[in-house]
Symmetry: C2
Subunit: 290 residues, 2 copies
Amino acid sequence: MLGAIEAGGTKFVCAVGDEFGNITDVIQIPTTIPDETMTEVINFFKKYSLDAMGIGSFGPIDVNMESPTYGYITSTPKTAWKNYPLVQAIKDAFSVPVGFNTDVNAAALAEATLGAAKGLDSCLYITIGTGIGAGAIVHGKLLQGLSHPEMGHILVPRHPNDKYEGGCPYHRDCLEGLAAGPGIEERWGDKGVNLVEREEVWDLEGYYIAQALIQYILILSPKRIILGGGVMNQKQVFSYIYKYLDELMNQYVNFPDLSSYIVSPVLGNRAGITGSLLLAYQALQDESRS
Amino acid sequence: MLGAIEAGGTKFVCAVGDEFGNITDVIQIPTTIPDETMTEVINFFKKYSLDAMGIGSFGPIDVNMESPTYGYITSTPKTAWKNYPLVQAIKDAFSVPVGFNTDVNAAALAEATLGAAKGLDSCLYITIGTGIGAGAIVHGKLLQGLSHPEMGHILVPRHPNDKYEGGCPYHRDCLEGLAAGPGIEERWGDKGVNLVEREEVWDLEGYYIAQALIQYILILSPKRIILGGGVMNQKQVFSYIYKYLDELMNQYVNFPDLSSYIVSPVLGNRAGITGSLLLAYQALQDESRS
């Protein structure tokens, strides 16, 4: 049996299940302070005999196995969790292999293995909600180098008519600063769900997402792109993305048909916890190989 | 013995050697029309008993092994070479495994295996000259998905004081349009080598390269970045790149010490042909495994 934690800024989702994404028990625990939250997390899993555990966590996190702070949540604005050794806390409670990655990488792994990019050895999963994050699969594995990617913070050329200054505390008008949910709300004075009828909102949103996709495509050349997260529930954005992407690329790179190349997730809000199960499965396999 | 071709727009470099980069014979053949050039290429290699051949080619090229036009040079402005089946021409002449990739990917492979990123399973190699190209190593292998990357054409926010419109025929003011050699010459009215003393030239160049590196780092998180090509022979650019990179990232992602993270190539102008030898070696290994 595999254990999985989707560690988020407002709640921890904990589940047990298998590597096919079947979940037999699941619980949600509020994210308060580590002592409280982790006690509840550990109590949930104590009922089960686990073979491995997988964690998809909010971040930034340290995923470099050679680092002394591997398995830590690092520079989060949630001060109680800053420099918290999440992997070690789980290892101390359960002596099993622990897989660890970002929440968005877990979701990317799930969509690549069991969802919208099943069968492909290359894809890009992007979530656009209160923040923007992305995970990539390259040669069948989660892209990782020096650290995990931080694709939501890339720079995008501004739309000439957009006067909104951008809301990213680090980079002001990076992609996340311009196109995440809070940016939509600040620019237009209302939440996206209340702006469905206003075409200019989704035209501009599509413009910025297309600018970002151009960069991702030119750099990563993914075989499929999956666009999820709360903002992408506004399906009308897709047509603007397709329009601007065609214009911007100007036929320099040949795309497949855009409606099959840039798609919605299949697993929806189960992607993170399913991916965490897959991280557990990978940790188990890595352990048995070593 | 391994054969290698570095197929460029002005010349084909052909060599024989081994997978350690030792070259025992080498020749340069002008790039005219395929009939002429390829006849000379084939005559050169006929003297040797080859086990495999590697080609690092100008492009764009088709590197998708499942494509009916795999091994072709595709949409090049050099009309005589457009849709030319380069791999097939070599296979027809020599019945050996043929490795095929872009010239910049070949150089990236060489720097990763024998050069400035030796021993790392992740790096990014960028060449800035008459054009801008880049190749990435991820999980120890050349990054490839739908196709090879086209990283030189990413969009970069313009410097507010830069009035030059950009020289890319596809995207006008993409990175290549703003920061490649021809852009420097058009903007400042002279070749870079004649502008060494003008600080503002290299300040602006460093500004644009830093903008691009931010995108590459946030998306790929490479363990080392190697900056080569004619423009990067102006070593004074490095200090501007470091300055702007620190400013732009605003401590969001922790870098290693920049002078060891962003470095010059080790193999110099031998990178392309050395990488082509390595492509030959990979093709030989793939053949023996299958």
